[in-house]
Symmetry: C2
């Protein structure tokens, strides 16, 4: 069973990041603690004890009230001593299993979900996002902590600052309180308890000590925010590389909905541009296709995903594609037969999306998750738009016609194959 | 809690319907008992006791095996006696609450669902589908049966042949077994027990005594098979009246998938016909729109609904609409501007459906159920097709252009309003 309570150590008086308490520093538009608390709640934690110092108490109280978190603020009057005392102050306020974590680590959703299944110290043998040099390392023997410290030469994994403990831990802090007169770090508690170690490797987490760490944390959040179930070849190999860089730049200042609006405007502009210059129109269209990934990335990195956002974004994408094809046909074609083909290309383009969304409406599951071979079919939006850009670089009438014919065949064939795969799976 | 066991009385030697046991006569492609058992199972019943006679035993056993129903066959060696004895034969095989029903009544899904919530005799004060003259009536006093019989002058409701009983009923049959030497009808048991009465009025059920009753039952199943959540004005007031008559005619011989194929073929034919005669094309298109309701009606009346069927049907409808508009534009338009408008009309037509299906994919609920005001927006498929037929009756170029312009405006406006309503509801 997942722990219902979490203790957050937030009494540290770190000075390298300015006067604001670290837990209230924003990364990708959200306070570090907002992330930790929100993700823990999403995974079953119902109650928080935040241990902080006298100086930060008011700020944390305001933060907790503003967001309505079910949290109690506990003041440590001697924050200059080791943070083991902060942990000890939570004794009597928790029972059974509980989470212990810190206010200056940024965790991704996948990390929290997996970490909660572990017990003892959660350690990472392959830390991907954090600076190992600065990190606390652990040496493990027989599944338990043997040594812990920043300057261990021989270590097995890195301490993630996340623990799943039992109230029994307070027997250890009780003894240390007396022996050390209240001045001892959590690492001392961990070593003394010979804590169990759970390895969770390579998932997103990092600690934040310097302004540069903050950038790294933002990059981590954006890079791990790619959902990608419906990504085509061009998305995977080109668009996502660029869109995550853009998301990184915009993560602190642009909301997902704002980005949806910008992307839609650019897409519509590219459609209008077909009346003036086809190569430019194609390039802007491809640019809008790259940007199309950004709203989703921002939403996930900022913990602002919404089904409404996804819904509106979907409708707008269809209108951009429709407008582009319609105006492209209008500005270049004369014969009715080619207009007919443009119509079928438009129909096919919308139906590619319709055929997977309608699947979800009917069966309640993502089509790509249910039928993985769907991912291999060509004709997704990112691929169509990239093709469009290529064909419009040297725009003669033949290239437009070839493009429309190609789109008609690819998209409608894809829809037919989708229906066939669905039939085979569900029939 | 819903009963887990049902006793089915199927020992009657009725002769008006030929040699086949009544429970195995098909209505809308399914044996009467197939319906009853399937619907009961759908609502939580897990076990059946079918009491029949020596002659029918083998047939019922084969039926039960073929469909894998969890049913036990009990033989009544004296079927010529009253059916109270058949009920009595089930004693010792059921405990607690159980359903008692008969093999010659056809029940609709809504009836079964509601009846299972009642207790005692389920009676109908406003029988809509059955012949009251032939029916067994009940007089009710203080919520209990006072009198029961076919020829009551003063009655309150009609016996639906459906009971929710308790094992205590076998104390009554025990006494009657002795008093009447095993020859007494269920109605005698009901009266003697002074059974509680639950009124369930106007829901679909009917008994089948004659070949004519069979037709009535089929009509009932087809008429109550209209789902209609997404029906527009034309569907409600015109198409459904005709489509249910067609479903009535085809209910015994055509499967829903077969009907989907026929409807698709006719729709595509109507699209091709735009190249020859616009009025004929429009009329055939409207005809295919009427037929478009039949597959769903057949599926529900025949208990053959499938999400796959709905999925494929949806894709095919979009292709029929696309083909019709594409070929209509191809065969009548010359100026690029009007081709542009045709493209936008096509885009809007597909997007009307996309905007509600995508809603279901995102929010997991039917858009019309969640946002009832959506139903009032014009522009649904049945309305668009009817308009198309009207405009093509006197096909001059102007009328085609007017149609395309109208479709462009109505459909895209509808999509915009849909998005706005969704935003208001979910934002």
């Amino acid at each position: 069973m997942a722990p219902k309570t979490a203790v957050i150590l937030a009494a540290g008086l770190g000075t390298r990041m300015g006067k604001r308490p670290k837990g209230l520093i924003r990364v990708a538009g959200r306070e570090i603690l907002y992330r930790t608390l929100t993700l823990l709640m999403k995974n079953g934690v119902e109650r928080f004890i935040i241990v902080t110092n006298e100086r930060y108490g008011r700020l944390y109280r305001k933060f907790v009230e503003r967001h309505g978190f079910p949290a109690e603020i506990v003041i440590n009057p001697e924050p200059e001593k080791g943070n083991g005392h902060s942990l000890h102050l939570a004794s009597g306020k928790v029972s059974g299993k509980f989470v212990l974590t810190v206010s200056d680590h940024v965790y991704g959703e996948d990390f929290i979900r997996e970490a909660l299944k572990g017990s003892g110290l959660i350690a990472d043998r392959k830390p991907r996002w954090t600076d190992v040099g600065e990190a606390t390392k652990v040496r493990v023997r027989d599944g338990r902590v043997k040594e812990i410290g920043k300057s261990l030469d021989d270590w097995d994994a890195v301490d993630t600052g996340f623990f799943v403990l039992d109230e029994g831990i307070f027997e250890v802090t009780e003894k240390l309180e007396i022996e050390r007169e209240g001045d001892y770090p959590v690492s001392e508690v961990v070593k003394r308890a010979g804590l169990e170690v759970t390895f969770i490797d390579g998932l997103p987490w990092t600690d934040v000590d310097t302004p540069n760490d903050l950038k790294k944390a933002r990059r981590m959040l954006v890079k791990t925010a790619v959902k990608g179930t419906g990504d085509g070849f061009i998305s995977r190999h080109l668009n996502r590389r660029i869109s995550t860089e853009i998301s990184y730049l915009l993560a602190e200042r642009v909301t997902p909905n704002g980005m949806t609006a910008i992307t839609f405007a650019l897409g519509m502009l590219s459609a209008l541009l077909t009346l003036l210059s086809l190569p430019l129109a194609g390039i802007l269209y491809q640019l809008s296709s790259i940007l199309d990934g950004v709203d989703g990335e921002l939403a996930r990195a900022q913990l602002r995903t919404s089904r409404l956002g996804g819904y509106i974004d979907s409708l707008l994408d269809r209108y951009v594609d429709g407008a582009f094809l319609a105006l492209l046909a209008y500005s270049t074609l004369t014969e009715p037969l080619w207009h007919l083909i443009a119509l079928l290309a438009l129909l096919g383009s919308v139906m590619v999306s319709y055929s997977t969304e309608r699947f979800k409406a009917a069966f309640g599951r993502n089509a790509y998750a249910e039928i993985p071979s769907l991912r291999k079919l060509p004709g997704k939006r990112d691929e169509r738009i990239f093709l469009t850009m290529l064909f419009l670089l040297y725009p003669v009438e033949t290239s437009v016609k070839a493009l429309l014919l190609l789109l008609t065949v690819i998209t409608n064939l894809r829809v037919g194959l989708t229906a066939w795969l669905v039939w085979r799976k569900k029939g």
